[in-house]
Assembly symmetry: C2
Homo-oligomer: 569 residues x 2
Amino acid sequence: MLLLKRCLPAWLQHYQSHWLAGDLTAGIVVTLLLLPQSLAYALLAGLPVQAGLYASVAPLLVYACSGRSPAQSVGPMALTSLLTAATLARFAQVGTPDYLLLAVWLALLSGLMLLAMGLARLGFVADLLSEPVLAAFTTASALLIVLSQLGPLAGLRFPGSSLPQWLAGFWQQLPHWQPTTLAVGLAALGWLLAVRRWGAQLLRRLGVPSLPSQLLLRGAPLLAMFVGMGLARGGLLLPVVGSVPAGLPVVALPHIALSQLADLALPAFFIALVNYVQSLSVAQLLAARRQESVDPDRELVALGLCNMAAGLAGGFPVAGGLSRSVVNADAGANSQLASLVTAGGMLLVMCTATGALASLPLPVLSATIIASLLGMLELRTLRRAWLAERADAVAWLLTFVLVLLLGVDSGIVAGVLVSLATLLWRSSRPHIAEVGRLPGSHHFRNRQRHAVETLPGVLLLRVDESLYFGNARQVRQALLERVALVAGTQQLVLIMSAVNRVDTTALSMLENLDQALQQAGVTLHLAEIKGPVADILQRAGLGLRFDGRVHLSTQAAWQSLAGLPDYHI
Amino acid sequence: MLLLKRCLPAWLQHYQSHWLAGDLTAGIVVTLLLLPQSLAYALLAGLPVQAGLYASVAPLLVYACSGRSPAQSVGPMALTSLLTAATLARFAQVGTPDYLLLAVWLALLSGLMLLAMGLARLGFVADLLSEPVLAAFTTASALLIVLSQLGPLAGLRFPGSSLPQWLAGFWQQLPHWQPTTLAVGLAALGWLLAVRRWGAQLLRRLGVPSLPSQLLLRGAPLLAMFVGMGLARGGLLLPVVGSVPAGLPVVALPHIALSQLADLALPAFFIALVNYVQSLSVAQLLAARRQESVDPDRELVALGLCNMAAGLAGGFPVAGGLSRSVVNADAGANSQLASLVTAGGMLLVMCTATGALASLPLPVLSATIIASLLGMLELRTLRRAWLAERADAVAWLLTFVLVLLLGVDSGIVAGVLVSLATLLWRSSRPHIAEVGRLPGSHHFRNRQRHAVETLPGVLLLRVDESLYFGNARQVRQALLERVALVAGTQQLVLIMSAVNRVDTTALSMLENLDQALQQAGVTLHLAEIKGPVADILQRAGLGLRFDGRVHLSTQAAWQSLAGLPDYHI
């Protein structure tokens, strides 16, 4: 009995009976939301709708057992589906068995990578993407998804995971648009947007209590689906989903060639990265509301297991979704039981209602996707970056354009590179200040901003940046130029109070600089070296080289060079 | 007349007659060295030997007009040739017209990119590669080149731009080795190594004067070539170069499909990067000897023009070579006239001696390559990194293994990523010190290292790193944990003396941290914010948020929180 209890997840061991009502409500509300989304996102990924059902149930069950975030709702996501479609389009035709096989393995592989990263405690990979780059990536992807659904909304079907591709397909297919389909699609879209805009307000004014009000609001897409199905069955000619196999998925590990697996490795890594960053930010948002914190490595493991489960069940890559998780939390989810209720609801549909889904019109699903994605188009981060730090705004714009032009899959690689390039760019030309002493004090300040005293023949320069391969060359050049600029300089004191780190490239630079200065008849002194930096200098053998020219503080260097008695600290 | 003078390069305007002897000698010595190298490196790139001649003459002429480094010798380089071969192998078969076309366009494209980067003053891209990563890349590439020449040394010919490829080809081809060829190859190699090891010593002991001694030493490969040609003409069965067209290349811009050009774009960028980094370090080395400095952007432009010239002349990508340039300088080159002399020598060979080159044995050329590459195999940087900064040593090893496994072309991409990953890794978990006041002073020091006084309920934390997307999440988490650890904390003072920069990700983090602390009943203060950081906080609207909680110095924060009178500075 005790053993059994040990095996249960933590939330179940400490379950409190008063959580039950909230969990049940939230579970049902999320089911209403998830059902249309799972079908729509499967189509977005280029897969049959049942793949969306499989990719919903398995992760819900697995996350409930392995995840720590009570309200997190892991399942099919728009961005992930688009990434899946863009990746698979390079290796297989939509609709072929190979396409299905690769989708399954993409989930398995990215799941395995997430699991491995979690076990190796590599949670920090989430920080490969800066906030502006991530925001630009999300906005551009949302725009691409909205565009990609404009076709199906009018009864057209063409690929388009980048803007040029989409434009080409759009112009080619435009003449074939179907008025009936477009009318139904626009009606559904209008309905969804109207409910979102005025629904809550109206129901409140009508005095509808909270629970039925929530069910009505979250059920709006489902209602659109029902009306659509009714129209299709009533004889209106609309493109529909078609037959959906009933029942549970067969858990299987399909055979794949090693070369195909190698093809998927890099895309799987980037999908894993995007899914992890998304899920982690959701988990952190939810945790902040409850004043808890998140263990990133633990989240990595749980998300990895979810993706592996999605793959084994015949689904595709999944992630923690922001909107669904927030709905879950707002509807009262207190524990992972809510997810189990949702999983139960989805299972019920799979076992009983797949026949009805066959007549579900595609334009209604497209409307669902468009409505849920419009909120992701945001320019706030760009505006803020523009005000605060222009380089980040440039990174935003660059990533945005690259994602639109190259598509989401190459776009995410470009995004990582843009993140890192801004980092390099920013630290590549560090601020170097000439300082002097505030008269009568031991404080040293920028000569350009304060009235300070100096020593003849002595130049005091402060480098405001860590020294590393990205700026070593420039710092060397800049220091030599500054020395050449001040005639009669015999001593250069390099104040290293802002140098938090040095790497081996910087060590070579310091040696090289010392040599170059010696040849020019200038002696190089180092002052205010931080502990970790001093350790590295020592280990690299530079301690000996600079023996007698290293000063604890700028004041100590000053006293020594002025010929005054030694000064400590 | 004045106009004509204006058009001349600077070195020619200020030419001094006493430079002439050195320039002539150096020009002839380098010709002796360049002739075998140009042929050998063309073969290494998978091209006919005449491409090596074309790629030698054109850049020499162009650099003499556009370059600033007097002794720099731009032309075919082993590493560049291997990169060219590895890139082209992916798009065309060796020996096909397509292969030639792509080689020419690779030079043109990378030349254009270098030119564009130079005009846009993007010299800082050279800093994408850290010293250990560059050293590992060079050593691994040299090893791959040496391996790739072991086959031709024994009369075998198989591709192998990565270790697995090479091993597969080697085992397959091994039974076909040719004893005569191997004997000639080993004899040539032995001769070259012996000359290098003992030649200078012997000639000095024999009392040979400097100039003939140098000609003899640098002419050793040429002598091996003559002996080899004699053997081949004498009837010894050896694989030889075969007919070489005589005369000057036809300057042409061959037509290429846009899709092929797109394929070459990324490889061309990385080849440009490697060539630029090589050439720049050569130029800097030479400049340091003469106590001059280098304008990186100017070097970019010159190297870009050289590569475009090499492409137009039917050659392949070129770079400034370390060994040739040093020989040039040591032989007395005082100006770019030395390069013009070398160009003249090469032109002479092209117009008169191509008939003789036809019988040049391939194993002798392989021996030339191996002998000149052995010096590039070095482990010094690894040893030093291992002692000073373990992460750099890991980067070295990782790059080395990746280049061997993936080949030079993917290896250089992996190298750039490893460089940047070490940077991210190093700053991702910054040191956070709890500080206190040295009793009776205004100095604040790490509590763990000094006996300091503290204020009840006040926590003083100093973050020793700039704040940016790579560490924002971890810093937030670490600060919250530190606050939770010290019971009764009501005020947290974040000392930002080591924060040289913040980006927008870090701004969001600070806001978010402030909120989280507020909810936990802790007030966040900021102290010692640097000028540029304060500006960004202000522009982002955080100045208002933290109004009254920003302190100029830690001492000012201390006085304010202790209820003492205001303190300035």
